[in-house]
Assembly symmetry: C2
Homo-oligomer: 336 residues x 2
């Protein structure tokens, strides 16, 4: 069988074979092996790690399925793991739901599944329960994935955007917009191949280096909507304003070039491996050094601060302050 057929989603033999031969083998773990309708996770294991369960979900519809630095499978593990990890939890368990288009090459599905399995394994995450649906040709574009993830939040961590207050400093853990620029380049054939690479990565190790530092207040990964969306969310949650400094925003030359070419702002571009962190001013230097000492945080930078005056503003290269609006829409659909 070289392509996905309607039968693979029907609850009959074909589906059972797909599950046994592809998913069970790739994701191989004791919870899946039970073959019950639900994974059963020992609550004592979770309570040993924390006192609250972080639970998050994302669907992935990125086009194209494969791109420099990743693919939809890797993204589906990293994206949801990061949404769990920014709470301070160590993501441990994922569910996974596939929606497949009839006619999808089985080779494509296998490549995506194996990439998910490898990304999860490397991050210490088990894909413990799943589901497969197949829709007829033309009723979905190739392949969509949903993952839901969970992990326990250690009792000493209480990060949240509502805790931010005036004077706190905002730090970004690396260069802006690499994921968005990579997809835009591929989609539009802009010819910057080789220079652009998605930053798609599980951020748990980087986040865990912050655990001991008392001044850390809020973390979020800057995906759809970019750093701009996160600072707007931060501002809305804490009730204050935020001011960023354009000069301090780390942006790779290739991404900057692409943005200038198209008149786009890297602040609005999606990332898949970058955090925005809000910290007390007194802890900012220590946090920055901690991040920069980690391979995923080398280009971390302080980019702004929380201020009394509401709204989000950007101080430009010539010192002029302007309001930074949240765009009505991101320039790029199906970025994740």
């Amino acid at each position: 069988m070289n392509t996905v057929e309607m039968a693979h989603g029907s609850g009959g033999q074909a589906m059972q074979q797909l599950i046994n031969r592809l998913f069970m083998e790739a994701f191989n773990n004791p919870w899946l092996a039970e073959q019950e309708d639900q994974a059963r996770i020992d609550l004592a294991t979770l309570t040993a790690q924390g006192d609250r369960l972080a639970f998050s979900t994302d669907s992935y519809v990125i086009d194209p399925l494969f791109f420099p630095g990743g693919d939809i499978g890797k993204l589906a593990v990293c994206g949801t793991a990061n949404d769990v990890a920014v709470s301070g939890a160590i993501p441990r368990y994922l569910s996974c739901g596939f929606i497949l288009e009839e006619g999808l090459p089985m080779e494509t599905l296998a490549a995506v599944v194996n990439s998910m399995a490898q990304t999860a394994r490397e991050a210490g995450i088990a894909i413990v329960t799943g589901d497969t649906k197949v829709v007829q040709r033309g009723a979905a574009d190739k392949l969509f994935i949903n993952t839901a993830g969970m992990g326990a939040i250690p009792p000493d961590i209480h990060w949240g955007a509502q805790r931010l207050s005036v004077g706190d400093v905002l730090i970004v853990t690396g260069t802006l917009g690499c994921h968005g620029a990579t997809i835009l380049n591929l989609r539009e054939g802009l010819g910057l191949d080789g220079e652009l690479r998605s930053d798609c990565a599980v951020l748990t190790p980087l986040i865990q280096t912050l655990r001991g530092i008392p001044g850390v207040k809020a973390l979020r990964d800057a995906t759809r909507g970019g750093v701009n969306a996160v600072v707007h969310e931060f501002a809305a949650s804490c009730g204050y304003g935020i001011e960023l400094t354009e000069r301090s925003l780390p942006v790779k030359p290739a991404v900057r070039g692409l943005c200038e070419l198209l008149g786009l702002d890297p602040l609005n571009f999606a990332n898949e491996g970058k955090l925005v962190i809000g910290v007390e001013r007194a802890a900012a230097q220590a946090v920055l050094e901690q991040l920069q000492a980690h391979p995923s945080g080398k280009e971390a930078a302080m980019i702004g601060e929380v201020v009394e005056r509401k709204g989000v503003r950007l101080t430009g290269l010539y010192g002029v302050k302007r309001t930074l609006d949240l765009p009505h829409a991101e320039p790029l659909p199906r970025i994740c």
Copy 2:
């Protein structure tokens, strides 16, 4: 704004408005209100209810979106809640991921969301975290939903298909194939409207009546693939055979008529509110009475037993025993 636009999935203002005006209002609960990237659930609440976390996911791609007895939103709550509930857990928390086609009427989305909210509320389930993606016209068919659910399994419940052994009795909690027949009738315009209605329901209350009964060994809800798929799964898990008796299978006249018309078997038809239960023979009568005393189990019946000889067989109306194969595919795609 009368239709879903690409901007509603872009991470910008339009998405934020959709989230605030539709989802937050309909699903309204303290976990969602936090507006963090993840829900944070008190682990002490879960450990007070059980010692293991049941975790399950399903994607819903049913076509049409609305049908007698339910809609894709109700189904997305019931289906996943039931996959959690058959472990013995009380489903408490759901995640929810939408994949929307550009151009979907906002009215359709609102009807589905409100149906999800109502179904969840009635079942004591909170939709605590979610995600929305929009794909361009033609890249998805109207609307897909993924839900992942969880709840704690009480320490005294250890249900599992592996526990079944020779002599155990199989019980079904009501008539077979109502959901599948309803969708088939709608899709093919067979004119049986008014007589057919999906059995789509949250089964937690019915399942919890079994909690005190020691002879209950395994539960599963008979969705895609019907009762036939479940008995094949039971046989594979326990390593024995299963024999069903055709005469004892409860089937509504309209469903039987439709099956005879089309030469289909109600055993293969999807249900969305029926359980197959494996019980010790000595407990079978007590379980049956318990089920029949509940409004959702009035038509419960013993339908077969676990036997030494491997394979699944059906004793027909004239006493002839034949092998019951798991079909390669169900007759009907996009049934859930």
